[in-house]
């Protein structure tokens, strides 16, 4: 802006169609900052929402897919027989697609993260797992299966993680709702900030508005000029906010993939998903910048028209 003015002053190319509302002002820069921060917050919340939504879908999917039966060792029972019995009961239950018994070696392998490798687990009482794959989670009568197991295989224990998975998923869903509410609040306060800024700009540029009226500008022409001015500010602020958000997300993704490679990282990933926004997430983040700019232009247009209607 400043450079082009100097060009003009030094007699360079004919400067044409400069914005009729001065582009640079302290109020304008303040508004760009506010819009930038608001966009960042909005994009951040949408990103978190997408991650939580993704994680809760993974949980819900796993709920739909399988449950496990744990058969505990007992001194006076043969664990192999008990395991087979439990598997047979599960297989006969409605809604079950298939049953898979974790062999002894597999079970021991599962314990490795806790007990380390190289240990001879042969003499340790390691529980056995039966993974029950569900064809349709809704059809499964978990209570029936539980009762049958309790009656016929006392050492078997139905690990119905569906309940807490369901709770987690429900919690995630209410978090998403909360985020949408916060997002709405952020957008509303941004709209208000733009409205006040527009009113301020109209008052501050009253001289310009008067002159435009005198030289024969219609209200629509003036409104378009102000709208263009604020659209420009909105685009600048939106771009700054989106850039910050993308930087933040990619930093977060890098950190989380670094954590995932560290001990205990698997558990984090199981619980929270992969901390990945995916290209759709990034596309949505970028489009938030666009939405913010459009919102800025729209709000200022409405305010300008109202203001002009009260003029003279």
């Amino acid at each position: 802006m400043r450079a082009s003015r100097n060009d003009a002053a030094s007699g360079g190319a004919l400067k044409r169609n400069m914005p009729l509302v001065p582009a640079d002002s302290i109020a304008g820069r303040a508004l760009v900052t506010v819009i930038g921060i608001m966009t960042f917050l909005a994009a951040f919340m949408v990103g978190v929402g997408i991650m939580i939504h993704g994680a809760s879908r993974e949980w819900t999917d796993s709920i739909a897919k399988e449950i496990t039966i744990q058969v505990r060792p007992s001194p006076n029972r043969d664990i192999e027989v008990e395991t087979e019995k439990a598997a047979a009961i599960a297989r006969a239950t409605a809604g079950v697609a298939g049953v898979r018994i974790f062999g002894k070696a597999e079970s021991e392998h599962l314990l490795e993260p806790w007990l380390g490798t190289g240990l001879d687990l042969g003499e340790l009482p390691v529980p056995r797992l039966v993974v029950v794959e569900l064809s349709n989670a809704a059809n499964l009568n978990a209570a029936d299966l539980k009762d049958n197991l309790r009656a016929r295989v006392p050492t078997a224990f139905l690990d119905d993680h569906r309940l807490w998975m369901e709770r987690l998923a429900a919690m995630a869903q209410s978090l998403v709702v909360l985020i949408v509410v916060f997002l709405a609040l952020v957008l509303v306060s941004m709209g208000l900030a733009v409205a006040f800024a527009t009113r301020g700009a109209m008052a501050g540029n009253k001289g310009i508005v008067d002159i435009l009226h005198f030289v024969g500008a219609t209200d629509r022409f003036i409104a378009v000029e102000f709208q263009r001015h604020f659209l420009r500010l909105g685009l600048r602020g939106g771009a700054i906010g989106v850039l910050l958000a993308i930087l933040g997300f990619s930093l977060f993704e890098t950190l989380s993939s670094w954590w995932a490679r560290s001990p205990g990282g698997d558990q984090m990933e199981v619980l929270f998903g992969t901390f990945s926004l995916g290209w759709i997430g990034y596309a949505i983040t970028i489009s938030i910048g666009g939405v913010v700019a459009l919102l800025t232009g729209l709000v200022s247009r409405i305010i300008v028209f109202r203001h002009l209607r009260g003029f003279e």
């Binding site: 003009a8 002053a9 400067k15």
Partner: protein, 220 residues
């Protein structure tokens, strides 16, 4: 073109600045609007521009009662009137060229369609070398000429000039007056507000509208 019938005006609750004003401005006419400083010349021009509403009386512009005009009609009328404000009212962040082109730009015309016209007018008022400059850099006389060029660019039917020679030295004042008389000859109605008696004496034959004590007298 412009007709005032028993027009009165007061600002807010203040005294009546203009009282029972009646006159007419005919097409292709030339007149001075005069009176001491503070007499109400600027106020009268603002009434013609419809930027003030009269407290009493009827103002008719281009055969339309001003009271009945909507915003679009007012805009249409203003496009037929060129104004030179006492304080110029140039936009400081636009170049001289852009300021002069403004009345055409707000009509939504493409810049390429009027560029040559604007540049020609700028040369005609002696601002050819100054068209890329921002108004704060211009001298008083240059601002005056830029303001006049802006008032003329859309070829108005009526030109209102408020103290157009108030800020310039006598030779330039004479040049500007020549510009207005030429404009008048080419068919534009011209109203020049001034309290400069020596200036008017050089145009002895011109019509004079004189405001004193809130009343207006016409000397043909």
């Amino acid at each position: 073109m412009v007709r005032f019938e028993s027009v009165g005006l007061r600002y807010g609750m203040g005294p009546e600045i203009l009282r029972d004003i009646s006159f007419e401005i005919l097409p292709r006419s030339f007149q001075f609007l005069t009176g001491p400083s503070g007499a109400g010349k600027t106020t009268l021009m603002r009434l013609i521009l419809l930027s003030l509403k009269p407290t009493r009386g009827i103002i008719t512009l281009f055969n339309q009662d001003a009271k009945t005009l909507g915003k679009d009609a007012i805009t249409a009328l203003r496009r037929r009137i060129g104004v030179v404000f006492q304080d110029f009212r140039l936009l400081d962040h636009l170049t001289t060229y852009e300021n002069v082109a403004l009345p055409l730009r707000v009509q939504g015309r493409a810049e390429s369609s009027f560029r040559a016209e604007v540049v020609e007018l700028l040369h005609w008022v002696g601002l050819g070398e100054r068209m890329h400059v921002l108004p704060p850099v211009l001298s008083g006389g240059e601002k005056q000429r830029a303001a006049i060029a802006r008032a003329l660019i859309a070829r108005p039917d009526l030109l209102l000039a408020d103290e157009p020679t108030g800020n310039v030295d006598p030779p330039l004042a004479r040049r500007l007056m020549r510009l207005f008389t030429e404009l008048h000859k080419s068919g534009t109605a011209v109203v020049v507000a001034t309290h400069d008696l020596t200036l008017m004496d050089r145009f002895d034959s011109a019509r004079r509208l004189v405001i004193a004590d809130g009343r207006l007298q016409t000397y043909e």
